[in-house]
């Protein structure tokens, strides 16, 4: 029986130091630390994320979902007038395990009322640089990144052209899917590796079809999502939005997610009525930007560890 930790004691000490400095970072800026429930009656609708659920217990009228991020609950606090808040949360995502994923992991998530996306990206850069040391910082639109790395326009190229580009470089067998599948494949297999060794790279203005909970804006003839992803040396570290505040639009996104779930035979997820009620309240969600950052990955980058398991006291296979 391998009862020993998967992280070295040195890595655990680094984790403790990182937690302390993170709290100090936000305390200095007057951002309030909060804790929200891990077990909630609504799951996540995003078709690319599956929840783990707790099925049984006398406290349960029906199954509850282990939260894949504290997003919905934190937005309810914002709608209740909390002001800027952050959380060091445990999050759970079913089926995600590998050198950079563990089904249970730590997320650092924070929200900044009144910030625009540029201000939030700058704050994320400040935090990350404090831990990983001096690195170059780059800001590039998703479209420009694809044009630069693949000479391909991700917003206008037909899906067949995206597929042809993927097939020219990779063996994907009989893989089939829509344009987002090919964009995701190109991003994760060809673009991400090209960012290795290039420091911090903020990719913003995602295709509208990949908006998740970000608001949309038009750029000339196309619509883009006010969302960013931060890559540090090719490792995807954080995902941020200029948050959607409109209850009706939020309701449409939940419905669209479920339509895609139905199409792919995935279980449907009921909309979080608490969140919808908060968005529809008199004050509603204040205009804000929010970001979720993989805390275990930040530790990987700060300590030069290449496998997430070596940052966890006990990885998924040891508990």
């Amino acid at each position: 029986m391998d009862w020993q930790p998967s992280a070295s004691l040195e890595a655990l000490r680094q984790r403790a130091a990182l937690l302390q400095r993170t709290r100090y970072f936000f305390a200095r800026r007057g951002v309030l630390e909060v804790e929200t429930p891990l077990l909630c009656s609504a799951g996540v609708s995003d078709p690319a994320i599956e929840n783990l659920a707790v099925e049984r217990g006398t406290s349960l009228a029906r199954p509850r979902y282990l939260q894949s991020s504290p997003e919905y609950a934190m937005k309810r606090l914002l709608a209740a007038g909390s002001g800027p808040i952050y959380q060091l949360a445990r999050a759970f995502r079913d089926g995600e395990a590998g050198a950079r994923h563990n089904p249970e992991f730590s997320l650092l998530e924070w929200y900044r009322p009144g910030f625009d996306l540029g201000q939030l990206m700058a704050e994320v850069a400040e935090l990350v640089l404090e831990f990983v040391g001096e690195r170059p910082v780059e800001y590039i639109a998703y479209r420009d990144l694809f044009l630069r790395e693949l000479d391909l326009d991700p917003l206008l190229a037909p899906p067949a052209a995206l597929e042809a580009r993927a097939r020219a470089a990779l063996d994907v067998g009989d893989l089939a899917g829509n344009r987002d599948l090919w964009l995701d494949l190109l991003m994760s297999h060809l673009v991400e590796p090209a960012l290795a060794g290039r420091g911090l790279c903020f990719v913003y203005d995602y295709p509208a079809s990949q908006a998740a909970l970000a608001r949309l804006e038009t750029r000339g003839e196309v619509s883009v999502a006010r969302r960013f992803e931060l890559y540090v040396d090719g490792v995807e570290l954080a995902n941020g939005y200029h948050e959607l505040t409109d209850a009706a639009e939020q309701r449409r996104r939940f419905a669209a997610d479920n339509a895609r779930r139905a199409q792919h035979g995935q279980p449907l997820r009921e909309a979080d009525d608490y969140l919808l009620a908060a968005l529809a309240s008199a004050d509603g969600l204040p205009d804000c930007c929010g970001v979720a950052l993989g805390f275990d990955r930040l530790l990987m980058l700060a300590s030069g560890i290449n496998d997430i398991r070596q940052t966890l006291a006990f990885d998924w296979s040891r508990c």
Binding site: D171, V172, G173, G177, D184, L185, E192, E236
Partner: protein
């Protein structure tokens, strides 16, 4: 045959891919921030020995391959086939030149090796990591030259040619690492 989902792919798992039996070498889970998750899988085609890298959508599955590794004793070759026997059941199997490949250079009668069966027939043969074989041909040994560097080719009873130190003579038995084809030491007779 059972099917295996990408999250069950482990090194060593035998699966069918495009009609070919394969052994999984590596399985990397990749996911862009928000979107579709993929598994980037490295496999060895057990028929051709070629390494494949194939990307799957996470959650897709492959059929298991009826491939198993069995310890067997090498009996003899009739020139066309190499004959092996399972020591427990005395069941015999014949492997053709394609299955045996370069392993014939290390097969000594009575030695135990691993025969990989695919649908019950030998697909490949893995010799023991170390074998002891007699030298049938080499230049005369240099007496007393045990410390100096330098080596010479020596032909073994199986036909393999390995580099040996200068002091080794014809008729001696040496120990060879079959994975690298390198001389290890002289075996006292």
């Amino acid at each position: 045959m059972a099917t295996f989902s990408t999250n069950e792919f482990r090194p060593g798992l035998k699966v069918m891919l495009d009609g070919e039996p394969c052994s999984i070498l590596e399985n990397e889970f990749v996911k862009p921030g928000k979107g579709q998750a993929f598994n980037r899988v490295k496999l060895r085609n057990l028929n051709s020995g070629r390494v494949w890298e194939r990307t799957f959508k996470s959650g897709e599955s492959l059929e298991g391959a009826d491939v198993m590794d069995r310890d067997m004793q090498y009996l003899y070759t009739d020139g066309e086939f190499w004959h092996f026997m399972e020591p427990d059941t005395f069941e015999q199997f014949q492997a053709d030149a394609k299955a045996v490949g370069d392993s014939h250079l290390w097969l000594k009668e009575q030695d135990e090796c691993v025969v990989t069966l695919y649908n019950g027939s030998p697909l490949s043969v893995t010799p023991p990591n170390f074998v002891e074989l007699e030298i049938v041909e080499t230049d005369p040994g240099l007496k007393g030259d045990t410390a100096q560097g330098g080596n010479k080719p020596a032909k073994l009873s199986t036909g393999a040619v390995v580099k040996v130190p200068l002091f080794i003579s014809q008729g001696e038995v040496i120990r060879v690492d079959t994975r690298s084809g390198e001389y290890q030491n002289r075996v006292s007779k």
